[in-house]
Amino acid sequence: MSLMKPDMKMDESFYKIEEIRHLTGETFSLKLPKARFAFQAGQHISLGIVGGNQSREYSIYSGVNDDHLEVLIKEVEQGYFTPRLRKLRPGNMVEVHGPFGKFGMEPEHAATGKFVFIASGTGIAPFRSIVHTFPEIDYQLIHGVRYSKEAYDRNEYASDRYTLCTSRDKNGDYHGRLTGYLKSCNFAPDTQFDLCGNSEMIFDALEILKRKGFDRDQIHCEVYF
């Protein structure tokens, strides 16, 4: 008897793009068939273009039980990979490996915990996955973006749970950086914090939360670069 996990067949990692949702001029989501692997809400995958020689990591944007596996992508203007992803069309194939990572939500925690999700830009992806997977979860989502149009799928979150911080226009709930808003907030002592987004936001938010007296064990981070 082989002691190894069975080899993954090549085609099991290939997914045909079913739909592309354009959320802003730069940001879009790829909707793929339902994941062929079990994952925990909050984890990420590696995504490659079939025939290409590179891949990148993306947090899963869809819930564990959703009908589609979805990822949220922002095109980097001078980048190598995202402009190529941008050119893909429904019917094109991508290669998906994963899931990866320890960032995420376990069902027993989701049922009992009190959470503050702090996201910058597309760093909202794992939190949408969590909210889709655990609709009853007790959470507050603080989303920092430049413009209010980047409030991706905002209507999916209850308005009293979602706070939009916009640094370049005044159409958010708070005008300024997410970290500025965070400084003004009060949270219950037993709150768990999950942070996802660019490294500078995470470093700053981490310091703010530590200064507010929260233990490092209450703060969980997923850094986008």
């Binding site: 082989s2 190894m4 990591e57 990866f100 995470i202 064990d217 850094v223 670069f225």
Partner: protein
């Protein structure tokens, strides 16, 4: 008729303990199949180079060893395996001085490949079975202690690390197989086993986690001691700490800190933070005050500022590691860190590396001093001109005078003085049993 001459095989191994274990297992395979073990200067019929690719330096060393082995043994079958064989497979396959390139997952079947070659069969390495746990327990080792492999692969995907790409996803060996391997290894005469894998802290076989497996290993009857190879510093419970009360389990852990900076650890995408690391160290030392911690540190990771590096020095001072493997960060193609900004100049990396090493030597000296007058149980690994070399239970190197052949035996030694310097520092003592 001229009788068939016994075939000879030579091995060259680079890199980690897991590679060393896999070589030892191959040595066992070839010995039992009737091959004589020789060195590469003795014109062997087969040369097996078990490579490493964890850093640029490892690649360079591996390339050099392959070239030297092939040059010295012009008519030999040259087999290249190990992580470099995965990372640079096509390039290595195109080299005329290499007969076979065998990926890690097929490494355990190299004997079958070589035998087929000498029998005139055409067998491509890609047709060998894939099984990362197929290795037989080590019988004829190049070492006194033997590793037991419990796990392979890693799912952590730290941004600097190529290992998940070359060793694959994490897989754990079933508990029953591990215990059988432990029994056989002890039965083969080893007094010390080292629990080995790529990321052994993530061991999971059904409901059995790493500490559950370790508890079962410690229950195996016999006079042996257990060490744990390099460990990621996350996910320990109190049960794990308590296991070290068992005299079979040696009071030493190589816990990989990598950096003392919260920001650098986040950029590395490590699974812990400095505070969690501190709690782990303190939890152990509250119970076992002389517990030995060693570690790995990467200096010059992209974006590492002077302040962040200072935090690493502070951590090294605070945690008092008795030994540090210091690595200067080097780009691994295909990793996330390759694309990070603010790569650090080599000169800065050199300077930082030197500072860590200086601190490390000071810490080692202080740790060793604390053992003068104490007694360690030392497993003798070799004896040179009447001086025995071995390690005490805390994994400190000890030398002492002996008479007669006492290799692979454990002796109580009273430690009297520190000798040697820097990396060669050791404790000298007198046998007291």
């Amino acid at each position: 008729m001229i009788p068939n001459k016994k075939k000879t095989v030579a091995f060259k191994t680079l890199g980690c303990r897991l590679n060393q274990y896999e070589t030892d297992a191959l040595v066992t395979d070839f010995s039992e199949a009737g091959y004589d073990l020789v060195d590469t200067n003795s014109s062997p019929d087969v040369v097996i180079v078990n490579t490493c690719t964890v850093t640029n330096q490892s690649d360079q060393k591996s390339r050099t060893v392959i070239s030297q082995a092939a040059r010295k043994t012009k008519n030999a079958v040259v087999v290249v395996t190990g992580c470099m064989a995965n990372n640079f497979k096509e390039k290595l396959e195109s080299q005329e001085n290499i007969t076979f390139v065998v990926e890690n997952s097929r490494k355990s079947s190299i004997l079958a490949l070589v035998d087929a070659h000498f029998s005139g069969e055409i067998l491509h390495p890609d047709k060998l079975p894939q099984d990362v746990f197929r290795y037989e327990p080590v019988r004829k080792s190049l070492h006194t202690r033997s590793a037991v492999k419990i796990q392979d692969g890693c799912d952590n995907f730290c941004t600097f690390c190529i290992i998940p790409m070359v060793r694959g996803r994490a897989v754990s060996r079933p508990v029953a197989d591990v215990l059988e391997s432990v029994r056989k290894t002890i039965g083969n005469g080893f007094k010390e086993i080292v629990i080995t894998g790529v990321n052994i802290g993530r061991y999971q076989d059904g409901e059995s986690r790493f500490e559950d497996l370790l508890a079962k290993i410690l229950e195996v009857p016999g006079d042996f001691r257990v060490r744990i190879s390099s460990l990621e510093p996350d996910g320990f419970g109190d049960d794990f700490v308590q296991l070290f009360a068992n005299p079979k389990l040696m009071p030493h852990l190589h816990l990989c800190l990598q950096s003392g900076s919260e920001k650098t650890l986040l950029r590395m995408r490590r699974m812990y933070n400095v505070e969690q690391f501190r709690k782990t160290i303190n939890r152990f030392r509250a119970v076992y005050s002389d517990f030995n911690f060693t570690t790995d540190i990467i200096v010059g990771f992209p974006g590492e500022t002077d302040d962040e590096f200072q935090q690493t020095l502070d951590a090294v001072n605070e945690f008092k590691f008795s030994h540090i493997h210091t690595f200067k960060y080097s780009v691994r193609k295909g990793t996330r860190a390759e694309r990070l900004e603010n790569h650090i100049h080599e000169k800065v990396k050199n300077a930082r590396s030197l500072l860590v090493r200086e601190l490390s030597v000071g810490n080692k000296m202080n740790y060793f001093k604390s053992f003068i007058g104490q007694t360690e149980n030392v497993l003798i690994e070799k004896i040179t001109q009447g001086i025995a070399n071995g390690y005490g239970q805390h994994y400190i190197p000890v030398r002492f005078k002996v008479s007669g052949e006492m290799k692979n035996t454990v002796h109580s030694v009273t430690l009297t003085e520190i000798r040697g310097t820097d990396e060669e520092m050791y404790l000298f003592g007198e046998i007291s049993n």
